[in-house]
């Protein structure tokens, strides 16, 4: 056993040395790319926000005018961040980042923009793991389906048009995939309800999402 000790200690030293070198290299690349990655993510956010709330409807920097909504656990709607759009300091719309938890393969992250009159300004899918070729038509680059929400309103509490055609609603399902659009429609509907119930709070709460200058 004792004759093994020098070999073990030598090998562990070499291994440690390599671990340190590799970690240092990764750390260095991380430092060099960190700012750019942040800018890229921010630019994508700005672009997406401008797509669903056109520049004619706001003149503020939406990605900085936002609130983080604490999850109170009472509602089954998971809201992440709300970006507020204002024109001449008057609230015009809000983009709500939320999650549809009942997709075919897990969560679907959505960005839902709603005008102050309660109509949908636009919806985008941010992240999903739906089946390629079937459920991924919720992506704008695969299909224009997500655009069908634009301009739609929830008329009253019993508005049953907010469902896929198969369930008697007004939104198309996809061939071979009903669960995915059903989950998206349900979450958009719930988000509109939330928006209408909390509209005053949404626009008056001070910005607290801490976006960098």
């Amino acid at each position: 056993m004792s004759d093994l000790t020098p070999a073990i200690s030598k090998n562990s030293k070499i291994l440690a040395l390599f671990a340190i070198t590799c970690t240092a290299a990764v750390g260095l690349v991380h430092l060099l790319t960190k700012d750019r990655i942040e800018i890229q993510a921010q630019q994508q956010l700005i672009q997406q926000l401008n797509e669903i709330i056109p520049i004619t409807r706001h003149d503020n920097e939406m990605f900085r005018d936002c609130i983080i909504v604490p999850n109170d656990g009472n509602s089954d709607l998971l809201i992440d961040v709300i970006y507020r759009a204002r024109l001449n300091n008057t609230a015009t719309a809000a983009a709500i980042k939320t999650v549809a938890p009942d997709g075919y393969s897990g969560n679907i992250e959505l960005l839902i923009a709603i005008n102050t009159d309660g109509s949908v300004s636009g919806v985008r899918t941010l992240l999903h793991k739906e089946t390629p070729g079937l459920g991924d038509k919720i992506e704008l680059r695969k299909s224009a389906w997500i655009e069908t929400f634009s301009g739609k309103k929830v008329l009253d509490k019993n508005d049953n048009r907010w469902a896929v055609v198969k369930d008697g609603g007004m939104f198309d399902q996809f061939t071979g995939a009903t669960i995915t659009p059903r989950a998206v429609v349900k979450t958009v509907r719930k988000t509109i309800d939330y928006f209408q119930a909390n509209q005053d709070d949404i626009f008056t709460t001070a910005s607290n999402c801490g976006a960098k200058q």
């Binding site: 390599f18 990764v26 750019r36 993510a41 070729g133």
Partner: protein, 234 residues
């Protein structure tokens, strides 16, 4: 020249005879998962190529200082470090492609083609040859990815180079070719089982060509193929 023939042999091994995709069947997981379009396939292929060259060169450069008992963890460390760097760089410079390749970038670490080459070739040969071997093996892998991606994209979506803008910038949107119009996507080609079947046909095709070549000149002796698994005698 002896050196020249050595490089020729390396190129031949990597691109055809011992192709990591078709013969060694390494890295099947990313190969089958991301080849639904040519652009995704090329994106992952280039990332793998880059990691393969870097890891081969590094492994070769440090081969005198690595005791053979702990060589595998060290190779894994080096490969994982390079993959993480590639991932960060792609996140920074090709953000959209990074998002569409998703989970499969970190999975390059588990691509056995890379550790296979480190172990079988780079750990025993000088830097130049090892880098060249990485380049050729990477190109061979990239070629298989591209062929598989083209077949699946044409069968599944009826297009070619869809989403080239993710890789090359907005101007490349024009590269998209609509080969024929499909009312519905052909799902089997898009999903991994389709990739598996297509892969089978590709391997069969390669074997067919090889047997034809062998028939054409039956007298030539088969050279020993260097396998990935190597037993160390000492």
């Amino acid at each position: 020249m002896k050196i020249n023939s050595e490089y020729k042999e390396l190129a031949w091994q990597g691109l055809w005879k011992n192709n990591p995709g078709l013969v060694q069947l390494l890295g099947l997981c990313p190969l089958l998962a991301v080849t639904s379009t040519v652009v995704n396939a090329v994106g992952l292929g280039i990332a793998t190529l880059f990691v393969l060259i870097c890891s081969n060169a590094t492994v070769s450069a440090i081969r005198q200082w690595v005791p053979k008992e702990i060589r595998i963890p060290i190779f894994v460390l080096i490969i994982a470090a390079f993959v993480t760097c590639v991932q960060l760089l792609m996140n920074a410079f090709t953000y959209d492609l990074y998002q569409s390749l998703g989970i499969f970038l970190p999975l390059i670490v588990t691509n056995c083609a890379i550790i296979g080459r480190a172990e079988a070739y780079a750990s025993k040969n000088p830097i130049k040859q090892a880098s060249f071997d990485g380049l050729m093996m990477g190109l061979g892998f990239l070629a298989v990815l591209m062929v598989l991606g083209s077949i699946r994209e044409i069968l599944g979506q009826g297009t070619l180079f869809d989403g080239a803008n993710l890789l090359l910038g907005p101007w490349a949107t024009a590269l998209k070719v609509q080969v024929y119009q499909l009312d519905h996507q052909f799902l089997l080609a898009i999903l991994p089982p389709g990739a598996f079947i297509t892969m089978g046909f590709l391997i069969a095709g390669k074997n067919f060509i090889d047997s034809r070549i062998a028939e054409a000149k039956p007298k030539k002796l088969e050279q020993a193929i260097e396998r990935v698994r190597v037993n160390f005698e000492n």
